[in-house]
């Protein structure tokens, strides 16, 4: 994996061209080149890179001149905060709406919800972000255009969600990022509800005289939650990836903005470090999914014991 990333990154353009002034003298270019170790053959670069990577050093950023991993670690909390808020928004709005739509397939509300969800998956995130800025910041002037705002601390957690100013900065990007996921959760929840409600055990539970509230809470919900939670854990990774777009629009000082700038400027160590970071994150998420799955589903849990 690291080899693939490394070779592919190496094929693209010469970062030195980006770093130095086009009018610089050739010997100055050479000096920069050797400073970053770019004058050595590719395989030596790779070995050096691997050695570094194993000791937690993914090289220094060409632009910032600081360790890439440190930069990533510094920016990650902002992205994490954004993605977490978006996920929470998606679940809080998506789940009830989806279940409602699944339980009342013919009602007027369902039509509106499902129409909205089609719109939600169709609307390009970045464009919606721009429109939100135009409406809430430019025309109405309610919310700030960009940045992260003040950061508060609560129970040892630091987040901009704990100050009013931070919240006003957070709400627009988080909603923007969440919109697609809300639509997705609605669709998942509705499909799950329709499917589970048609199963025999629901019919049997009704035949036992259980009231609708109990059916939904104890029989429907656990059964649809397992697949939804598993999907959402994986989708959390997508949120972090999509944050690149949202962060670019709202100038949110997170990972996404860092990496987009790095891609445009061919800041190789940052891109490599970001990819390694993301790969690790996804592996971790997959592991978490397996754990959640095993914890929630007795069929998996108990088989594992044997």
């Amino acid at each position: 994996m690291s080899l693939v990333v490394f070779t592919m990154i190496n094929i693209v353009g010469d970062p030195v061209d980006m770093l130095v002034n086009p009018e610089s003298l050739p010997d100055e270019i050479e000096r920069v080149r050797s400073d970053f170790g770019l004058d050595q053959p590719a395989h030596i670069q790779y070995i050096k890179f691997l050695q570094g990577a194993l000791s937690g050093d993914l090289g220094n950023s060409f632009i910032f001149g600081r360790p890439a991993l440190a930069l990533i670690a510094e920016r990650f909390p902002a992205t994490l905060e954004l993605a977490t808020c978006a996920l929470i928004i998606a679940i809080v709005f998506g789940l009830p709406l989806g279940i409602y739509a699944g339980l009342n397939p013919k009602s007027f509300g369902t039509r509106i919800i499902m129409g909205g969800s089609v719109l939600g998956i169709s609307i390009p995130t970045f464009w919606l972000g721009l429109m939100m800025i135009i409406i809430f910041s430019v025309v109405l002037g309610w919310l700030p255009v960009s940045g992260r705002g003040d950061i508060g601390s609560f129970l040892g957690l630091e987040s901009s969600a704990f100050t009013l100013d931070g919240l006003s900065h957070l709400i627009m990007p988080a909603t923007n990022l969440a919109l697609f996921k809300i639509a997705m959760v609605i669709r998942l929840a509705r499909a799950g509800t329709v499917e589970v409600m048609s199963l025999d055990f629901i019919k049997f539970a009704r035949a036992r005289g259980l009231p609708p509230e109990r059916l939904v809470r104890f029989h429907l919900l656990p059964n649809i939650l397992i697949p939804i939670i598993t999907v959402l854990a994986i989708e959390f990774g997508t949120l972090i990836a999509f944050a690149t777009v949202t962060e670019t629009i709202f100038a949110w000082p997170g990972l996404g903005k860092l990496v987009i700038d790095a891609i445009v400027n061919l800041d190789r160590p940052i891109v490599v470090a970001y990819l390694m970071f993301v790969v690790t994150l996804f592996l971790l998420l997959n592991l978490i999914v397996d754990i959640i799955y095993a914890a929630l589903d007795p069929r998996v849990r108990l088989n594992g014991d044997q």
Binding site: L199, D200, F201, K203, F204, A205, R206, A207, R208, G209, L210, P211, R214, F218, H219, P222, N223, I226, L296, D297, P298, R299, L302
Partner: protein, 565 residues
């Protein structure tokens, strides 16, 4: 004594956008306390719809259009949702067909029982738990305290159905509606569950409605029976009277179609009522016809010879050998089938009988042993021309008529595929004529040619399957549970057809079934299988009259009694 349930002129319709289907028409039923009423009928008869209509659990768009459902004198149709919920579970309990799907997989069985008891008889805490334990004991579950916290998947099918029965009885109902309660279970468990239902209901003076397609079930358990056909109740009365002296034509043909376990009959008779009208079966003159040509060639006396056959399936894959686990599906099986013979393989699910069919047909590879078709070794190691030629002598009829035909091909393309692939017909014209003849021969009629499989019923699809098999001009036909997915009357038709084909073409048949009476009607010799091995091979008559092996005796004891006919 007053009636427990009195249904008067009930009609149920399913209103669709484009069409309305009357699933139940003008059906009247009465039931006294402690009585067991059977409702019998084939698929589409509307029998399950009645059960669902009583407790108002019809799937939309189904609704009751007319009639009364009087339960202890009160019309259930007048109740609102909330009142209806108080009836369900508390007054009327339900048991559904498939115990695999009737229970919430994510809730312990104790949890499901307790929530039902909370709701129906308002017992909470330790009182509820005690009641649950008592219930589980009464349905024959040992050590109920230890099992309260188990999930449904930790129980076997039969045990789960016992839990379902416990749930149905949890609210001390006066009426139990059991919809095909034993259909999804193995024969040996079917009898136990039926006995249990009967016993519990007598003890508690609970009225029971048993909805089933199986006349054997009715004969075993019910006091009275209503026969349903096409949404109508065609006949009702005491079980004994209906079974021995049916009045209505439909009842007569339904009973005649039930395969007997006690003696062999040549053909099933008077079963024309169901499929409607006379069959368009037009026989081929085999001496002249393409189909007959190959059958005049001489073949050796032994059609299939199996020696020391073994097959394992891996259950758990693992890198280390000792961590892998296998199921030994076929264990040291040897048998030989004479040319022109009809040989039966019988056993419960998981006995390995279908695996043998697949091994012989070359659909799965053998681990060890040999299979010879007309003295030609055909196991996987040899893949020469001779093997392919020998395999072409063998065709298969499958269990599920809905999945054994390619839904995207027209019937004529399905049937003609082996002819065109092997170019056994000289022209396209000739090929089409052959297909037409084959379809006529299996009683389907040649106007089926341009249609797609979904336009046909299950029985008709099996006929298409048979025509497709014949198009290869096989000498050997493997029938793997060919009628177990079909209604009993349709089954009788297909079995008759298979018998005729065997007589006409001298086919060798390997007939696989779990159904002993069917085996008795179809086979000359039988092998009884259990856990991948053969227990006993005998002629059909001697097996049914004097079984030697303990397991054969056991199976025969469980066989539904058909001496009522």
């Amino acid at each position: 004594m007053t009636d427990l349930l009195n249904i008067r002129k009930l009609s149920v319709s399913f209103k669709m956008e484009y069409e309305t289907t009357d699933a139940v028409r003008n059906v009247s039923i009465t039931l006294r306390p402690g009585e067991v009423l059977g409702i019998v009928g084939e698929s589409g008869a509307g029998k399950s719809t009645i059960g669902n209509a009583i407790v108002n659990l019809l799937e939309p768009p189904g609704e009751i259009t007319r009639g009364e459902v009087l339960f202890k004198g009160q019309d259930l149709r007048n109740l609102d949702d909330k009142q209806m919920r108080d009836v369900r579970g508390k007054k009327i309990g339900m048991i559904f067909q498939d115990p695999q799907t009737s229970l919430n997989p994510l809730m312990t069985i104790g949890g499901q029982l307790i929530e039902t008891i909370n709701k129906t008889i308002n017992l909470y805490g330790s009182e509820a738990t005690n009641k649950v334990i008592e219930l589980l004991e009464s349905v024959g579950i040992d050590e109920p305290e230890a099992r309260l916290n188990l999930y449904p998947h930790q129980f076997s099918g039969g045990m789960r159905q016992r839990v379902v029965i416990a749930l149905a009885l949890a609210g001390d109902p006066d009426l139990i509606i059991a919809d095909e309660p034993t259909t999804a279970l193995d024969v040996s468990i079917q009898a136990q569950i039926l006995d249990l239902i009967k016993k519990l209901c007598q003890e508690r003076q609970v009225g029971v409605i048993i909805i089933t397609h199986d006349i054997g079930v009715i004969a075993n358990i019910s006091d009275r029976v209503t026969v349903m056909f096409n949404g109508q109740a065609v006949e009702s009365g005491e079980v004994k009277q209906i079974l021995t002296n049916p009045k209505h034509e439909y009842t007569k043909s339904l009973i005649a179609a039930v395969p007997r376990g006690d003696r062999k009959v040549e053909r099933f008779k008077s079963i024309d009522y169901i499929e409607g009208g006379a069959q368009t079966q037009r026989r081929i003159d085999l001496d002249q016809h393409w189909l007959g040509k190959k059958f005049t060639q001489h073949y050796s006396d032994t059609a299939i010879s199996i020696n020391d056959l073994n097959k394992k399936y891996s259950l758990k894959k693992a890198f280390l050998k000792r961590n892998r686990s296998y199921v030994h599906a076929v264990k040291d099986v040897s048998l030989s089938i004479k040319t022109g013979e009809s040989f039966g393989l019988v056993g419960e699910s998981g006995s390995g009988k279908s695996t043998i069919a697949k091994l012989v047909a070359g659909l799965v590879s053998t681990d060890k042993g040999s299979i010879k078709l007309f003295d030609q070794e055909v196991t996987n190691k040899s893949k020469g021309k001779d093997v392919i030629a020998a395999r072409r002598n063998l065709q298969m009829i499958f269990q599920d008529p809905y999945s054994s035909l390619n839904a995207r091909m027209r019937v004529q393309d399905i049937v003609s595929e082996p002819i065109s692939y092997y170019k056994t017909a000289s022209t396209n014209m000739e090929m089409r004529q052959i297909v037409r003849d084959l379809l006529d021969h299996v009683g389907l009629g040649s106007n089926a040619m341009l249609k797609y499989p979904h336009e046909f019923s299950g029985g008709q699809r099996q006929r298409i399957s048979i025509a497709r098999a014949l198009a290869s001009r096989p000498k050997i036909l493997i029938c793997d549970e060919p009628t177990s997915a079909l209604d009993v009357s349709v089954q009788a038709h297909i079995l008759n057809l298979l018998k005729d084909l065997q007589d006409d073409l001298g086919l060798t048949i390997l007939f696989i079934s779990h159904d002993l009476p069917v085996i008795r009607q179809m086979c000359d010799r039988v092998a009884v299988m259990r856990h991948g091995s053969i227990c006993e091979i005998a002629t059909t008559d001697s097996l049914f009259e004097k079984p030697q092996h303990e397991y054969s005796k056991h199976l025969l004891e469980l066989m539904p009694k058909t001496d009522f006919i």
